[in-house]
């Protein structure tokens, strides 16, 4: 089973992101990075599938050279190969263009039975890229997967989160899955592999190498971020202190006044 996992490097979510007033962009200088958490669930699922059914796992990221850190984490968790798509023309790509580019990259790398992505990246929170890749590659998708039930030589059955419950879906291979956090508990990178990963070559592919049309990506994407800004801060409200009986009753009175109960 040939497996590919898409990974995205994002900023550490333990610190609140800040905007650079000059550029209107999120400040990245001096901020630690992390792998978008759902991508680690995707990788774990890929590694388990490869352990159970044979085959190997490749990881793919799009971004600048820095994103090799994320790919090396993928390698240190158990992936065998890593690829980076990097091209200045890709800057400011929207989710459509990102999916288009990654699909082009995947086609140029090889053929895969299962492609896994996180359900969304925790910076853009768009959750579009997985389905977009599946469409570009013309393969089926199962999104928001929280359990992989069965994989055979030609199909995969998974449970996904539905709007009011869950559903079990079977798809013919090849298939693309987007993964929920509850799918699994990602393994930790081990230190022998971490050292090995630091010594592995990671091919860097530009738009020309993968046959991506630069007229469709980056600033030419179908949607554009016009402005970023901080949300209006919530006004902090009243603190109720004192005897439990009194403040408990008072709280309910307030909620009735506010017509929320």
């Amino acid at each position: 089973m040939n497996i590919l996992v898409c990974m995205k490097q994002v900023q550490d979510n333990a610190v609140a992101p800040k905007l650079d007033p000059a550029t209107g962009r999120v400040v990245t200088q001096g901020v630690e990075t992390m792998v978008s958490p759902f991508d680690l669930n995707a990788l774990e699922a890929g590694l388990k599938l490869a352990e159970e059914h044979g085959g190997e796992v490749s990881v793919l990221a799009m971004g600048d050279e820095e994103s090799k850190i994320t790919l090396r984490i993928g390698l240190s968790m158990g992936a065998e190969k890593a690829y980076l798509v990097s091209d200045p023309a890709l800057e400011d790509s929207d989710p459509w263009a990102t999916a288009y580019t990654l699909a082009k990259a995947i086609s140029s790398i090889g053929t895969f039975d299962v492609i896994l992505c996180g359900k969304q990246a925790i910076d853009d929170d768009a959750g579009q890229v997985g389905a977009g890749i599946a469409e570009q590659l013309g393969i089926s998708q199962i999104s928001y997967v929280n359990e992989i039930r069965e994989a055979t030589a030609d199909s995969l059955t998974a449970k996904r989160v539905a709007p009011t419950g869950e559903e079990v879906v079977q798809a013919a291979l090849p298939v693309l899955l987007t993964c929920e956090k509850s799918l699994n508990e990602p393994r930790y990178a081990t230190l022998k592999r971490t050292r090995m990963a630091n010594r592995m070559e990671i091919p860097v592919l530009d738009c020309a190498a993968i046959g991506a049309d630069t007229a469709k990506v980056g600033k030419n994407s179908p949607s554009t971020v016009q402005k970023r800004y901080m949300p209006a801060p919530r006004q902090s409200g009243e603190l109720l202190r004192g005897n439990a009986e009194e403040i408990g009753k008072l709280a309910v009175v307030k909620l009735v006044e506010q017509k929320v109960i």
């Binding site: 850190i69 090396r72 984490i73 240190s76 930790y188 990178a189 081990t190 230190l191 022998k192 971490t194 050292r195 990963a197 630091n198």
Partner: protein, 378 residues
Amino acid sequence: MEFKYTDDQIALRRAVREWAQSYLAPKAEEIDVNNRFPTETIVALGEQDLMGLAYPEELGGAGYDAISEAIAMEEISAACASTGSIITGHYLGFDALYLAGNAEQKAKWLRPALEGAKYAAFCLTEPAGGSDMTSNKTTAVEDGDSYVINGVKHFITGGAHCDFLCCFAITNKEDVRHGMSCFVVEKGTPGMTIASEDNKMGIRGARTAEIVFENCRVPKENLVGQLNGGYRLALDVVDRGRIGIAAMSVGIAQSALDLAVKYAKEREVFKRPIAKFQGIQWMLADAATQVEAARMLTYYAASLKEQGVPFTKQAAMAKLFAAEASHKVVDTALQVHGGYGYMKEYAIERIYRDQRITELFEGTSQVQRIVIAGQLLH
């Protein structure tokens, strides 16, 4: 001279921090409260390749350098100081085998220890003799194909939980400095019993034990290094281990500083965070400087060890300075917390107790000064 982390060191810090913060940190409080040695952590340390981190890959280690080991120790101790002590005990426990063991011994005990299959303990300290090994009383007497060990060892980290220990015993009473030898004693060897486990102030998860040897017979092939060469061997092991304790101190201090900074930003008095007050700022600045200085001295000692040049003085200095720096830093951090810092609900309370050991074990701060003075004045 270049102050720059290698790619391996950067990746290692990230990987160890990730693991330590998500695996070790959540159980730090529980093992402290329950006074419990976390045997499951030994398995996990092995899975992470931490049981033989800075030892050669051909022996079963992970092949990192000495500075990497210090970084890992820092990150582990920042998450859980007990675990820092547990892993230090393991490194000390097998280091004699690494330094002086023969091929069979390395295959039988060192490799599984480095790979994480066996947990080792360092069995030197006795009720009458800690840093002064000449006061040790435990003896090993040759008898046919064996040595027979008699005596009492105490404060043995992981003693009740290890798979084997390296026990130092006197083989020539006339001249202990040239009459001590090192023996591997495996768990369950008849004549070795765990008399008790200690109830300590801090690092309570790193349980220490009193071990009694009563006609404990070990085969001759368990003698590590030269007969009567154990005194020097023990000193070498302890020398190398001091850098680990220095790194442990740095990790403890860093964790305390981080908590203090976080608390200072959150805690408001007179309608503003206490971090806005210069009195607090200066305390934090001093603490941060202590941490950084301790870290640099520790890495310097580790780099000398890595280069294979003498490092006894610098290791003692790093251990002395880092232990005392961490004392000041945890004290400051607790003070920044005000009365809350004195409460069990706040992690700083445990860290404050955990820190204290760093000035006591592997030679007290006073013993470090003796070592340093000895190096200066010899």
